[in-house]
Amino acid sequence: MSKRIDAKDLNVYYGDFLAVEGVSMTIDAQAVTAFIGPSGCGKTTFMRSLNRMHEVLPGARVTGQLMLDGDDIYDPAVDPVTVRTMVGMVFQRANPFPTMSIRENVLAGYKLNGARISRSEADDIVERALRGANLWKEVESRLDKPGSSLSGGQQQRLCIARTIAVKPDVILMDEPCSALDPISTLAVEDLIAELKQEYTVVIVTHNMQQAARVSDKTGFFNIAGTGKPGKLVEYDDTSTIFNNPREKATEDYVSGRFG
């Protein structure tokens, strides 16, 4: 299962501060969409608004429409928890639950929600999710060890396994490789390429090579100056963004002439 996301004139606010202004874009299903741009340009904020995670911060709100396969997720009657079960998220720093074993971490989406699942069902879910995250072979023999006993790259893949275990439609990744070494990064990038067979993947990255390697489409966000809202400057096929961008700002940024 994977779903398409349509944003229509989306503004994201923190209190009175307009953080992201007027984003309209279509994020394709079964594809990888990358957001690039300088720090503070609102790409992470926009991404967190895709599963209503930004609402965790006090005063954050959104205007405009955000459709998940045609359903507005910001309809007042929509429960943010429902949205988050459909749109999973992987964070910048790997954050396995320290009180849980590897196995429990993968099952966290079920266990924390109090779902009753049989032992064999749970085994299936754990194996499928860990295989899906390319981690099964490395942890097969030590599923009962704490999740924090893994290396940084393994922890990040454990977090991905935890996210895909609950079968979301969309997976959001907020700079998932920024704390990883090149080998772990490669492992995660390979994984992203596989994930798009089944899921809609959105990735925020500071690494332009990574965006070029893994994504089908790329959005470039920019900010006019401190205190100004971030905007989506250009959104197109990745090859177009990197080889033949329409906007001067995009060209400057992807060629490294920015700032």
């Binding site: 965790v56 988050r84 954050n95 639950f97 320290p98 009180t99 924390l112 704490p146 893994l150």
Partner: protein, 397 residues
């Protein structure tokens, strides 16, 4: 280069360098500021001898001798280092010595309290039946016989231990849910509004409430409560407000702010990433708090609660005014007076069972004090063990 990066390194190398020299190798030219490692011992010995001489001049006593020794040691070390090495090193030594002396002074009361309680309390603790009997039937005549004829000191603290136990457990049962829920509200739900700031302020104020005030408050509140209840229902007329539960309420007034404060600290250090990770899995907020935040913080919460218990178990005044003092064992929190250990100690000292022959009472009081200290130490130990056992397994890589 490594020889001179720190004075300590230079100092500790000094003997080695001497031996190198005797083997005909030259000492590193970078070596400086070297003082023999045994210097402080010699200086201390000299100071002790001089100190005893000086204190003998004004009439020898141990305290004066120790003070003279300390002062002389500080001064001599400073002067020697100043003349033989340099000013910077001398200042370093001076402050090091002063800080060490301050540490010893801070340790003094602790050690002397433990020493005096243990040395005086052990005979009473070893008296037959001290832990297993209460004070029923122990009259002035019994104590008189103990003191004048040398018979065994009878009577014990069974009732006081049980009283302290039930009162403290009841206070914990009252305070922990209130304190825990308050701190959960403050950390997880309050967004810096007026209510949360007011709660924080009043919790701070509560921390400073004198314990006797808490006792008077609990006594008055319970009397009012029972009176109102009696007026409305016509029952409970015979119930007196002097009972164990009133003391538990008084102690919980003292405990709640401590529990709120420690739990709040512990919940705040739970990384936000874990909450977000849980939210991102579609877990509701209350489940996130219950299953992610609290388990991550539980070791700190448990040890904080144990320390709060250790703090209130030694309270005397609020229990004396709310639960009274009796000689027999009473397990019932809601009926009759209860003796707690600190109150027992107080009464045995101030109103000995036999006013003319107070030694047996004093012996029991000291032994009870020893038991109280042991209980508090055990609670501290338990807090540490809990913190260790429940701590999230963060490493193990």
């Amino acid at each position: 280069m490594t020889n001179t990066t720190t004075p300590d390194a230079a100092e500790s190398r000094a003997p080695e360098d001497d031996s190198l020299q005797t083997r005909g190798r030259t000492r590193s030219r970078l070596t400086q500021n070297a003082q023999p490692r045994w210097q402080w011992l010699v200086v201390l010995a000299v100071s002790a001898v001089l100190g005893s001489a000086l204190s003998a001049l004004i009439g020898f006593n141990v305290a004066g001798w120790l003070i003279f020794t300390a002062v002389l040691h500080v001064v001599i070390t400073y002067v020697i280092t100043l003349t033989r090495v340099n000013r910077r090193r001398a200042t370093d030594q001076l402050w090091r010595n002063l800080i060490f002396i301050a540490f010893l002074i801070a340790l003094l009361p602790l050690v002397s309290v433990i020493w005096s309680v243990v040395s005086v309390g052990v005979p009473g603790l070893l008296a037959p039946g001290f832990l297993s009997s209460d004070m029923q039937g122990i009259t002035g005549t019994v104590d008189e016989a103990s003191q004048t004829e040398g018979t065994a000191v009878l009577g014990g603290i069974r009732h006081a231990i049980i009283g302290s136990l039930v009162i403290t457990v009841a206070a914990t049962v009252i305070s922990v849910p209130i304190g825990l829920l308050t701190s959960i509200y403050l950390v997880e739900y309050a967004r810096g509004g007026l209510l949360s700031r007011a709660i924080t302020f009043f919790v701070d104020v509560m921390t400073g409430i004198p314990s006797i005030v808490a006792g008077l408050f609990a006594g008055a509140a319970m009397a009012w409560f029972l009176g109102t209840l009696n007026a409305v229902t016509g029952l409970f007329g015979s119930m007196s407000s002097t009972m164990g539960i009133t003391a538990a309420v008084a102690l919980s007034v003292l405990m709640i702010p401590v529990v709120v404060r420690t739990t709040e600290e512990m919940l705040r250090v739970v990384p936000n990433e874990l909450r977000e990770a849980s939210f991102a899995l579609g877990v509701r907020k209350w489940r996130t708090i219950l299953k992610v935040v609290i388990p991550t913080a539980v070791s700190g919460i448990a040890s904080g609660v144990t320390l709060a218990v250790a703090r209130v178990i030694g309270e005397t005044a609020p229990i004396l005014v709310t639960a009274g003092y009796v000689v027999n064992t009473n397990w019932n929190l809601f009926q009759g007076w209860i003796t707690a250990l600190p109150v027992y100690i107080y009464r045995q000292f101030v109103n000995p069972t036999s006013p003319a022959f107070s030694e047996p009472s004093h012996q029991r009081a000291w032994a009870a004090a020893l038991v109280l200290i042991i209980i508090v130490m055990l609670l501290n130990l338990i807090a540490r063990i809990i913190a260790k056992v429940f701590a999230p397994k963060t490493s193990g890589r």
